[in-house]
């Protein structure tokens, strides 16, 4: 396999050309995903079982693809065409296939997770060194802590406090975070907190979980147990001045901007997870009922068609993000609709596989529970509906289709 040099030497997360290497990447992902079904079942029974599967290539992917190229260390374990510091388009390709294998295993895998987008957006070189040298140690988990018990993920309303440390050198972090993936097992993380009133008073700080005052517990979940969703408490955790991300930037371009960047970058991932599981549920039905015909077959085909349309939209929004011209409204729409599709697919599968299908098909029962999480991950459906509405008000929701040559384009202009 030869590959354009631009791929291997890329250190930015700009768009890369599709071609032979993306086909190879997709083939690799498809094969790697197969390895995840049995571990996913084990994780559903015991979320800490991820330690038994750290040798799997698919489990290495998250760390490698979300780590800047200069810190990535998995060159010998993964094919050369698996990019470090992946673009959004590359990562959603991986996310969809990995979730097709098992979404819980994907979220359980070590790596920098969402925090990588905050670091990319805000950190200086020293801060990147501090964070990524730690997350490059294998296995190391990291967390991204925005959501709070009483405020959800409303970034502008968070209440965790960042107060000046006694003596004036550094800061003290106090507050609680809720529904934080891998929070209780992470070595480091990024925490959003309030230094002063108003949107520019929000900061993003890097936390070492070994520091005094950090407390975490894993929450028992109905599904997606591999994510090891946690509650975090910060009882006066000392934050050295150099761990305030973007400290070299103006206050208007620090904490809040990092949160928005991370959510924007990862919302397509959640959509990709949802599409992957939705497609897996449809394929599972067809594997189990190869003679399925009539209305049942039409329902499955209809869902697969929906999935294809959403995938096209997903790749469009990811390309816009990589090109530096994201449309947040379209991202919201795709994420919300993909989450609905995953839920519809698992419910349809349960129905088509007959009475007691959730008993007879443990994998189906697992994803039936897992997909419920996609609805609220990176913002609930209602938040995204509001986002789409805002896009409509600004006449900035619909994708321009100037290059389409389908019949009827000539009359579209009369609308």
């Amino acid at each position: 396999m030869t590959m354009p040099e631009t791929v291997r030497s890329a250190t930015s997360h700009g768009p890369r050309p599709r071609g032979e290497w993306t086909d190879a990447l997709e083939h690799f992902l498809r094969e790697a995903a197969r390895d995840l079904r049995a571990p996913g079942a084990a994780l559903d029974a015991d979320p800490d079982a991820v330690h038994r599967f750290l040798h799997l290539p698919a489990v290495r992917l998250q760390q490698h693809m979300l780590t800047p190229a200069r810190y990535a260390r998995d060159e010998d374990l993964l094919p050369r065409y698996v990019p470090a510091e992946a673009s959004c388009a590359e990562w959603i390709l991986a996310a969809e296939w990995l979730a097709y294998g098992d979404p819980g295993m994907t979220l359980a895998s070590p790596g920098p997770a969402l925090s990588t987008a905050v670091l990319r957006a805000l950190a200086d070189d020293a801060q990147r060194d501090w964070f990524f040298t730690r997350t490059s140690d294998w296995p190391t988990w990291a967390f991204f802590a925005l959501t709070e018990p009483a405020k959800g993920s409303a970034a502008t309303e968070l209440t965790a406090r960042l107060d000046a440390a006694p003596g004036g050198d550094g800061w003290v972090l106090t507050g609680e975070k809720m529904y934080i993936g891998n929070g209780a097992h992470a070595r480091v993380g990024v925490v959003f907190c309030r230094r002063a009133p108003g949107p520019w008073g929000i900061e993003a700080v890097m936390v070492d979980t070994a520091d005094p005052g950090f407390h975490a517990e894993t929450l028992p979940l109905v599904g997606l147990r591999g994510a090891r969703i946690s509650r975090l408490r910060f009882d006066g955790v000392y934050i050295p001045p150099e761990r305030v991300l973007g400290r070299h930037r103006p206050r208007s371009r620090r904490g809040l901007q990092g949160a928005l960047q991370a959510m924007l970058w990862f919302r397509p991932s959640v959509a990709a997870f949802a599409l992957g599981v939705g497609r897996a549920a449809c394929d599972y039905v067809l594997e189990q009922r190869p003679a399925l015909a009539g209305a049942g077959r039409a329902e499955v085909d209809g869902l697969l068609d929906r999935s294809r349309r959403l995938r096209r939209l997903l790749h469009e929004v990811a390309a816009e993000i990589d090109a530096g011209s994201p449309n947040t409204f379209r991202v919201s729409g795709v994420k919300m609709r993909a989450a609905c599709l995953a839920e519809d697919a698992t419910m349809l599968a349960a129905r088509l596989l007959g009475p007691a299908s959730l008993i007879e098909h443990p994998w189906l029962d697992k994803v039936y529970r897992d997909v419920r999480a996609f609805e609220f991950m990176e913002g609930t459906g209602n938040i995204h509906r509001r986002g789409v509405f805002q896009g409509l008000l600004r006449d900035d929701y619909f994708t321009p289709r100037d290059r389409d040559d389908r019949p009827g384009r000539a009359v579209e202009g009369v609308i």
Binding site: A45, T147, A150, K151, G152, A154, E157, M178, Y179, L219, P220, L221, V222, G223, L224, I229, G296, E343, M347, A350, R351, L352, G354, P355, A356, S357, L358, I359, P362, D365, R369, R372, A373, E375, F376, T380, G381, N382, R385, R386
Partner: protein, 198 residues
Amino acid sequence: MTAGGPGDYPALLDALHADIAPGRFVASPSGRVLASAEALGAAGAGRFTRFGLACVPAPTGSARDDVTAGRFAEGLLTLQHTVLRRTLTHTIARLGERVSEGTSLLARPQLQADLADVAMELQEDAAEPAEEAGRDVRWARHARLTRTGRVLLRLLGGYSMLAEGPGADLYLAEVAGNVYLQPEPGDRLRPETGDDDA
């Protein structure tokens, strides 16, 4: 396991078994029994035991006749309705405690509309005639209640995924429907969205 709040679905299911077939369990059409792990003596590593539930081949002596099965199926729907009513109350209370942009989340029109839709669906469901219904009617009713429950789960956000919260009860109600109420694929079915089909 006691009844009275989130997490008590297994206890409520046991009470239903005891009410419909005292001293026995009611078997599903596929020959299974779903009840609390405690009542079935199935405590262990079963898939549902972390929710307090177990599903086993129907023990000897389980009720299998059509009349008992029909009454149990009706009871399951009543139970699902009851859990939904309780979750609706819980959801209103929880959203009422949350303040965003200076006002209660309950002031948001979208959330008000969703909650009203749930209430209207439950009100309509309660008006279901009391006479014995066929399996297809019961399945359609279960499917409507399931969709109603999913609306509440969406409103509850991340809280709905907690194993000790109302989300687990709604999930178990869906599993019970899957085991006891779902018809065989060849059975004649009413459209699940029958409300608009008159």
